[in-house]
């Protein structure tokens, strides 16, 4: 079910993003990268101006081939922002997307500790170390694919619901438009003419 990490030799790549001045304005990414290079299992550590940009992503893709990396750590923004982006990048380079781990050194470090640069630097290093530690135990995973029922449901028959239903139906999707009142139309139907065009609302 899962293979223990030391079966094949771990080759981790660490990428510290500048994010323009958002990160680099508070801590020196190069120093973090140099510090991370000594961590066990890390064979490649560098900083990059914008990891999520093409330059950043292509750097990671080339490194995966050049250094034959089997784990990637990206210390940049929040997982909620670009996890899908970096998973896409590593899988394009042939590496299982779940072997990439992010460290959030922007929203949860530099942006929140602008008043304590020294503390932010120490935290950025340790967050990167934690990501490297987790990377050690990452196992390749495949997305679970589920079938999709090609039917949509729109709850609410006001102007927004009707627009959505119409568009979905025009795309050839069977749509159920559910409305709790006896008639669709919502608040819009009650209105007289509507701005700015002053045409009728039904």
């Amino acid at each position: 079910m899962e293979d223990s990490p030391n079966k094949e030799e771990l080759r981790i790549g660490v990428y510290i993003c500048h994010c323009g001045s958002n990160i680099a304005g508070v801590i020196p990414p190069a120093e973090v990268a140099e510090w991370a290079s000594h961590l066990p299992g890390v064979v490649r550590a560098t900083d990059t101006l914008y990891a999520c940009a093409d330059s950043g992503q292509s750097l990671i893709k080339e490194d995966i081939k050049k250094y034959n990396l089997n784990r990637v750590v990206v210390s940049a923004c929040s997982v909620r922002m670009h996890e899908t982006t970096f998973r896409g990048a590593v899988s394009e380079a042939g590496l299982n997307p779940f072997l990439m781990e992010m460290a959030n050194i922007r929203e949860q470090c530099t942006w929140a500790h602008g008043h304590d640069k020294e503390g932010a630097l120490r935290k950025a290093k340790e967050l990167t170390a934690a990501a490297v530690a987790k990377a050690h135990f990452l196992a390749p995973l495949e997305f679970i694919t589920v079938p999709v029922t090609k039917r949509a449901m729109v709850v609410g028959g006001g102007v927004a619901g009707i627009s959505a239903a119409l568009d979905l139906a025009d795309q050839g999707i069977d749509t159920i438009l559910v409305e709790k009142e006896p008639t669709i139309g919502g608040v819009m139907a009650q209105l007289n003419k509507t701005f700015p065009t002053m045409d009728c609302s039904i």
Binding site: E2, P40, S78, V79, R80, M81, F98, N104, Q108, W111, A112, H113, G114, D116, K123, E126, L127, A129, A130, V132, A133, K134, F137, L141, I144, T145, V146, V148, T149, A152, M153, V154, V155, G156, G158, V159, A160, G161, I162, S163, A164, A165, D167, L168, D170, G172, D174, T175, I176, L177, E179, E181, P182, I184, V187, A189, N192, K193, F195, M198
Partner: protein, 630 residues
């Protein structure tokens, strides 16, 4: 509206409620309850004979209760579908309508509610908004002064399909008003009611004024405002046009309306802020431009659809900028004002956006879900050895685990949403969660507490709420102590007590156990599992004599960035108050107890490797410290 009903691909289900939703993206099962109309929709042709003979009149909600409707009714003449409905509460069962229906025989009093299950790939929520009831502002006299009306009442009174067929009269005495005052921000931008700006009322006031002025140029119209907001294309020009037509714009929020009982006229008392003068002007009628507020039933809708709310009661979007129409639950989208106040153009565009977002899913044959689901180690599950257990099944919000004594627990992949509750509840660590295994989490904890742990505030955050709250604290630049170290799990239910004991065993100064507010949990009851565990831990640590405030439980939503930073700063103050010596001494005193409780985790496969690796990591980190001599 009509084309929506006629579209072959749209099945319009009116007078129907969504009662239950199960499943996940691409595979939702939705239970619909079609309330009994007491009219057979196939037979009814909307002729209205039944309404003609129906003796019962009740206020018509569609006409804002300004006009009556019969017990057998349609909301408006252009109702879609044009089918009559019989209002069960109002009906006195005289059956006159049945006779009037005659051969059509469309009225059927034996009709029951129809409950049906539908397989659905994606859901668009467009439940809309409600209007603020201004009667709670006594100073404006709505409900006491008949000629003070709300914006929606004006819509009906001024509407050619309305109760007065477009002839605007004032409710007090039926006269045509010559002097009208429109008061903006009624219930909006008001901390006592709704702190938000309702987005469309300024333009809405100007529209009504222009319409009325066109119909009756001599009419004197004044709009009282705090700030006129014309944010979109063509809006400022529209405001310009209104001023050009001689509509007065008075900057000053009226404090009071008084009525002359004989004439029924109203006096609006306000300051003309531009002049700095108090003014009292007489009007025939006053329109209160009421705020947009969430629907009264948002709590039921959000619990049925399992979507959370942002402050104020609007449904919460995944990300305000990058995924504004997605709800946090994959496959459910938020269209229109239910997600936040919007005018019609914005509502339509968000509806169309939802169509394309849903289309992304519905047009692909299959859809990917993150493989972060639970997996059972059959050899470790005591149920397989014939013992009675099932703790994991009890913790699962989705009933995805079936347990029979004598056989190991079984996880049905399709049903598992990946909250991790079962993994943390299993006392024998016989179940793990892909991508969030105990080993991975332990490795992170040990790496973060490798250096000077006693200075650190270790925070467990859940992906959907408190991790989002921490992000928001950053985006809003609310500074908090840099001694905070946090890890991310999918739900507070995943925060195993062993992790907490381990963190304290490693010497952490303080630990924050944080997740969603109860009603916001992404996994329905996941938060409750986490909350009960947190209470148990809190009591245990109090019994152990740990200084209060070192272990803290806080429920923080993704919209509460300020709360996250405040909590961390407070914990930092607690640590400062306790001081390093006492903290160290307390950790020494607590270590044996923590060791005893955390030892069970070390039976988990790979955890031992994780601890060996961590020692290697700590060694590397301390080497790096010395040479720099920091």
């Amino acid at each position: 509206m009509v084309d929506a009903a006629r579209h072959p691909k749209i099945d319009v289900r009116t007078y129907t409620n969504v009662e239950r939703v199960e499943g996940y993206v691409g595979n939702f099962k939705v239970q619909l309850r079609e309330k009994a109309r007491l009219v057979d929709v196939d037979r009814c042709n909307g002729c209205g004979e039944c309404a003609k003979v129906c003796p019962i009149e009740v206020p018509n909600y569609f006409e804002m209760n300004l006009a009556p409707r019969k017990a057998a009714y349609v909301a408006m003449s252009q109702s879609v579908p044009l089918k009559y409905t019989i209002d069960e509460e109002a009906c006195i069962h005289c059956y006159k309508c049945v006779e009037a229906c005659g051969p059509l025989d469309a009225i059927d009093f034996s009709q029951e509610d129809k409950v049906v299950w539908e397989d659905i790939g994606s859901i668009v929520v467009a439940t809309g908004f409600n209007h603020f009831d201004p009667s709670v502002i006594p100073e404006y006299g709505y409900g006491r002064f008949p000629n003070v009306i709300t914006a929606m009442e004006m819509e009906r009174l001024n509407n050619s399909a309305g109760p007065t067929v477009g002839n605007l009269i004032r409710p007090g005495d039926g006269k045509n008003p010559q002097r009208l005052a429109i008061i903006n921000c009624v219930g909006s931008r008001d901390k006592r009611f709704n702190p938000w700006c309702s987005n469309f009322c300024c333009m809405y006031a100007i529209k009504n004024a222009v319409l009325l002025k066109q119909a009756n140029p001599e009419m004197e119209i004044s709009i009282y405002y705090i700030d006129i907001r014309t944010p979109s294309k063509g809006y400022e020009e529209f405001y310009e046009r209104a001023r050009g037509m001689g509509i007065h714009f008075i900057q000053g929020r009226p404090s009071l309306i008084t009525q002359d009982d004989n004439t029924g006229n109203l006096f609006v008392h306000s300051e003309d802020v531009a002049l700095g003068r108090v003014i009292e002007k007489e009007y025939d009628m006053v329109m209160l431009n009421q705020a947009a507020v969430p629907q009264p039933d948002v709590d039921t809708v959000s619990s049925v659809l399992n979507i959370s709310q942002s402050p104020g009661g609007w449904f919460m979007e995944y990300h305000p900028k990058l995924r504004p129409v997605d709800s946090p639950t994959d496959g459910i989208f938020l269209a229109g004002a239910c997600q936040g106040q919007k005018d019609i153009p914005a509502s339509v565009s968000s509806g169309l956006a939802c169509a394309s977002r849903a289309g992304r899913i519905l047009h692909s044959e299959e859809w990917q879900i993150e493989p972060i689901i639970a997996q059972v180690w059959e050899d470790r599950c005591i149920s397989a050895q014939g013992k009675q257990c099932g703790l994991c099944a009890k913790a699962c919000p989705y009933g995805a685990i079936t347990v029979e004594t004598g056989k190991a627990a079984q996880v049905t992949t399709a049903k598992c949403h990946g909250c991790g509750g079962c993994v943390a509840e299993c006392p024998h660590n016989a179940i793990t969660q892909m991508h969030f295994t105990d080993a991975q989490i332990l490795a992170q904890i040990r790496a973060l507490l490798a250096e000077k742990p006693e200075e650190k505030i270790f925070a467990f955050r859940c992906q959907w709420c408190s991790y989002g709250g921490a992000d928001l604290a950053g985006t809003s630049h609310f500074d908090y102590s840099a001694n905070e170290r946090g890890i991310r799990v999918m739900c507070s239910a995943r925060m195993d007590s062993d992790f907490i004991y381990e963190a304290f065993r490693l010497g952490a100064g303080a630990v924050l156990y944080s997740g969603c507010h109860p009603q916001d949990c992404h996994y329905i009851t996941g938060q409750r599992v986490g909350a009960t565990r947190a209470d148990r831990l809190m009591k245990a640590f109090e019994k152990m004599g740990m200084s209060p405030g070192r272990f803290r439980v806080e429920w923080i939503s993704a919209a509460e960035g300020d709360k996250y930073s405040r909590v961390i700063n407070e914990m930092q103050e607690t640590l400062n108050a306790i001081g390093p010596e006492k903290l160290h001494e307390e950790n020494e005193m607590l270590r044996p107890e923590m060791e005893k409780r955390a030892r069970r985790m070390y039976e988990v496969p790979l955890v031992t490797e994780a601890s060996d690796y961590s020692d290697e990591m700590r060694q590397a980190m301390s080497d790096m410290e010395e040479p720099h001599g920091s």
